[in-house]
Symmetry: C2
Subunit: 216 residues, 2 copies
Amino acid sequence: MIEEQTPAAGSIEEEPGLRRTPSQKRSRERVENILSCAIRLIEEKGSDAMRMSEVAAMAGISIGSLYQYFPDKAAIVRTLAERYNAASRDCIASEFAKVTTLAELRCAFSALFDTYYDMFLAEPVMRDIWSAMQADKTLRKLELAESRANGCLLAETWARVQPGTPRERIDDAAFLIMHLGECTMRVAVSVDRPEGGRIVAAYKHMILREFVADAT
Amino acid sequence: MIEEQTPAAGSIEEEPGLRRTPSQKRSRERVENILSCAIRLIEEKGSDAMRMSEVAAMAGISIGSLYQYFPDKAAIVRTLAERYNAASRDCIASEFAKVTTLAELRCAFSALFDTYYDMFLAEPVMRDIWSAMQADKTLRKLELAESRANGCLLAETWARVQPGTPRERIDDAAFLIMHLGECTMRVAVSVDRPEGGRIVAAYKHMILREFVADAT
DNA sequence: TTGTAAATGTGAGGAGTGCTCATATTTTAT
DNA sequence: ATAAAATATGAGCACTCCTCACATTTACAA
């Protein structure tokens, strides 16, 4: 019943984009409600056409309340983007975790991008969010950071199963592979199903040549 | 002195995005002036922050006049994008034109992406334009079409120098290679110079493995 | 229960955008 | 010179994101 708000400075920053850290249960629910309304609206019309007034109306709150939680429209998009990114990262990390040989890495990579593709197909909002990110300078940095983080995940695994290869080449290649992987996902979901599948296959085919014994 | 406007229907559609095909010399100059003002403003602040009122002011014309030539703000961006795309395509076509062997293809590909990278570095507006394109659904199709066109250019050459490989695999791979090439250029110019160079190198290294004799 | 201070909710309206349209001006053709 | 067509103009419309002064609710001690 009585839920203390985490009061002072230095408390847990749960969602850094928020204007006011929602301390009470009701507030947290309200934030979740806002976000799911935003998702629905983005699904319908795209994040650009989504109006703050619509979000407020659908969530059953006033504009003022909406802005109490999110400092601006971009913050909603950013929060959503961070969640999707976190989901992707978990997906990648869990796939690479158990890899111990080069063959297993190839296997994991292949499986990863299949499930990654399914994720993108299942969440059409992801693509829209990404488009919105590209248009915003701040959000683009977030995207880049994400690619770097994913690149690290791959680089660690790669270096582990193939210790001979010079580390800098691995780092650069891993970053590029993960970044271009996302780019591939985006084109793949933007064309029709069979072609999308072929594109993903072509990408996997291309990258899998990198994970071979003779390090050039 | 007297310059006839190409009058009737069915005349040459020079720039399809324009509201009114500029027929007189003065009009055409005015369109060019508008575009170069837009470029300068985009360089300064980005296409999103560019205001139509600023474009008009810098070009020394009224808002109304501006809208007589361009139906909306996106049309300016689109026109610019089409020009940059055309420039890229020419660059690609001329590089592939004289290729007759697989080794030459590798050579041409390598050279292409070096000059391509220089082009991107020299024209910071290109990257901004591209970001704006990603945000707009209509403009995204243009981008996709561009990748397809460039993919065809590569596929033709590739099939020519390596007739054995199944055509569908070549088509898919060529499209992906050119598309991801653009993606690579964009990250490369968005990081600092040395890392950008390494990224381009990593991409070339990765792709050049595709252009080898043993077609898998 | 009641009082008080903090937290939260509200929506009219400010500031600024893209774009229109009735009107004025310039060019072209006769 | 004159009519008609093309072009130029900018006040203002419709619409956006977002603020802020104020109302309401909650938390908790007296």
